[in-house]
Amino acid sequence: MDLSYTPEQEQFRAEVRQFLVEHKADIPAHFGVNRPSDAARAWQRLLIAQGYAARNVPVAYGGAGQPHDIMRAQIIADEFAVARAPLGLVNQGISMLVPTLLELGTEAQKRDWIAPTLRGDVVWCQGYSEPGAGSDLASLTTRAVEDGDDFVINGQKIWTTTAHGADMMFALIRTEPDAPNKYLGISYLIFSMKSPGIEVRPLRTMTGAAEFNEVFLTDVRVPKSQIVGERGQGWKVSNSTLKHERGMLGDPNAALARMRNLLALMTAQSTDGVAIMDMPVFRDRAMRLQGRALAMKCHAMRLLTAADKGEDLPLARMIVKLQATELNHEIATLAVDVLGEAGLAYDDEAHMRANEIWQKRYMFDLGMIIGGGTAQIQRNIIAERGLGLPRELKPARPTAA
């Protein structure tokens, strides 16, 4: 155990801090709702030039071209968090499509799409899930038939975030209906959201916001050149994308920050003249959650060290989504209990007051327990792949390639 950093790393940390001080004025006030604002894109370009964003993407494709260095990446993340500065754009194009293209795209696809995506000039949405294909994603039925040099797509996608502002979609489409099993026969296609035949309908959720959309695809034409990876191999291609998505989940710094806010709330609120913080039943729950948040923070540091050494800790890695989403939900649940009747107040997002955010999180975080593989699916994965228990009779999802 050594929680200190090397002199070179501390020097690098100092540089990051210096950068953040110098460029305080460049931090965009608004990032934009569906599309990045001009200021956000300018900030992103600055971060790429500085080597803080798109770090490992080659310069030829518009990235920073830095060598892999997980400790430096973490130092950047930590310092940006301390300065409350956004670490560039965070979207599915950058986190999922770009790594996929780098791994499996043609040279032309890489040249065409990576740089504008990184710059925020092209915004992507994801077309994986369908109303009938949730946990059993591979049973998707949106299909494409060949017509000359094009595919013609018909079907429906769901849970599509930012579909309204997106320029492009990357999607899983069934192109080979006669494949020997459902996993084969799917292709990974990319196409413009301006294509004729695309209709986007917002999907309202329990929080009152429309965080997701349904996308209806009717005779949408896509040139065959816009397939990523092999035809019929889209399941494998998407698994490489999902692998990248998983890293996005469960930021332990965020859980600890929430805990601090919750403890402040408990100190400020009182019932019958007694601060909630002085009520042992609530305090015990708060301390329990704080211990869990600290454990997850330590767990993340352990995973970071392993990744830095090129080691994999499969079981430790697989539990993160289950534990982190549950922890967030429990923090919100305690806050709702702490606020009591007062915590029932709730408006739509525009009018939401400081305390109302907890009621929203109580619901939103339940969605996070379900989204991206439900808690039940996570437990299957932990049991079968992490602990080596025999497979369920019908597996939840085939082992990632």
């Binding site: 899930s129 109303p131 009938g132 294909a133 949730g134 946990s135 059993d136 049973s139 769901i158 849970w159 999907l203 309202r204 959720t205 329990m206 997701f212 609120q269 009182s270 019932t271 019958d272 003249g273 007694v274 909630i276 002085d278 009520m279 042992p280 039943v281 609530f282 709702v336 209990d337 702490v338 009591g340 009747e341 007062a342 915590g343 029932l344 107040a345 709730y346 408006d347 009621q359 109580y362 619901m363 339940l366 969605g367 327990i369 379900i370 989204g371 439900t374 808690a375 039940q376 437990r379 299957n380 019908k394 597996p395 939840a396």
Partner: protein, 368 residues
């Protein structure tokens, strides 16, 4: 001994179930929830009135049905099942009981028949069971009221309000009284009407409830919330079971997966004993059993926990669709959140049992 609903009560539940099933549809609830203005669901109230609900607890001498707390709990359960966005706790429970037990003969003659007929609605401003939040309370001085009540209910469409003051007494205030300002509060459960009241030297008519009747009123309201929780919780279980039968993944209904089966089994196992506990608590208030207060508080706390558990697991069984507006599951989820917290959450409610239950245990300040 007959530990069961009477035939009349079973009939009441079945018939009301039919009425509310056809009136308080998802479309109707959604329309109510989407309205941004202060809400009074006149059509639903009208349906309840045709059924005689406003007069449930009004003595027959004043034109009501003169029924029991248990009957009202049976009704509350059905309203919870259908997340009925109409007033209930104020005009149907609190007002008839407070006026019936504490009103002068004149007040009773003046108000009870109108309450029974559904034409007079009375809201309830009384936060004491949940505790005085951050010092907000209503103070009575020389028959006039001053202060704030941040969580007054069933105010939309009401002509009067029953107001509880810090000293534990109840008062009748005119909705149009000088010095009373009402600000609607949107809560997470849009099927309930909540407002924040500010009272500045407002004229009020005192209701002379005995200390034990004040407690009975408190317990009766906790029982109604417990019944509402049972209704919405049970409906969440039923929705989950139906969805688990219909939804297929991996070539089979998801209800054949053990994980989904066990989510549903746990919901049922928690909710079912709550039903018997609720009946016992309501009957205890009617029959004056010595443990009626304890049972009422236990029923509220038990069902707040059980229904919350059901609300979470039902969403999990539904998966993604459960967090959307598609099936409207969230209306039940939110109703459970509201009913669980209103008039004191489970932890505070259990602390009240502890104080009641064991006289040797001094009430502790340090419990919420």
């Amino acid at each position: 001994m007959d530990f069961a609903l009477s035939d009349d009560q079973t009939l009441l539940a079945e018939q009301l179930e039919g009425v509310m099933g056809s009136l308080s549809t998802l479309t109707r609830v959604r329309r109510h929830a989407d309205a941004r203005a202060e809400m009074f669901a006149a059509d639903l109230w009208e349906g309840m009135t045709r059924f005689g609900i406003p007069g449930l607890l009004v003595p027959e001498a004043y034109g009501g049905l003169g029924l029991d707390i248990l009957d009202a709990a049976v009704v509350a359960e059905v309203l919870g099942r259908h997340v009925v966005p109409a007033p209930f706790l104020g005009p149907v429970v609190a007002a008839p009981l407070a006026i019936g037990w504490g009103g002068s003969g004149a007040i009773k003659s003046r108000l009870l028949p109108r309450l029974a007929g559904g034409e007079l609605r009375i809201g309830l401003a009384w936060s004491s069971p949940a505790g005085e939040r951050n010092g907000e309370a209503v103070i009575e001085r020389s028959g006039r009221l001053t202060g704030t009540c941040p969580f007054a209910i069933d105010i939309a469409g009401s002509e009067m309000i029953v107001v509880g003051s810090r000293d534990g007494r109840f008062h009748l205030v005119d909705r149009a009284a000088e010095g009373l300002s009402v600000t609607p509060v949107t809560t997470v459960d849009r099927t309930r009407s909540v407002a924040a009241l500010v009272l500045d030297d407002v004229a009020a008519e005192g209701l002379a409830l005995s200390p034990s009747d004040r407690l009975r009123l408190d317990y009766a309201l906790q029982v109604m919330l417990a019944a509402d929780l049972l209704g919405s919780g049970s409906r969440l279980l039923e929705s989950a079971v139906e969805y688990a039968k219909a939804r297929h993944q991996f070539g089979r209904p998801i209800g054949s997966f053990q994980a989904v089966q066990h989510l549903c089994a746990d919901m049922a196992a928690e909710l079912e004993p709550g039903r018997a506990l609720l009946w016992y608590a309501a009957h205890g208030l009617d029959a004056g059993l010595p443990d009626a207060g304890e049972s009422a508080l236990h029923a509220k706390a038990y069902l707040a926990d059980a229904a919350r558990m059901a609300s979470r697991k039902a969403v999990e069984v539904h998966g993604g669709i459960g967090i959307t507006d598609e099936l409207g599951l969230h209306y039940w989820f939110k109703r459970v959140t509201w009913s669980g917290q209103a008039f004191g959450g489970a932890i505070r409610t259990r602390e009240r049992v502890a104080c009641l239950h064991n006289a040797a245990v001094l009430p502790q300040r340090g419990a919420a």
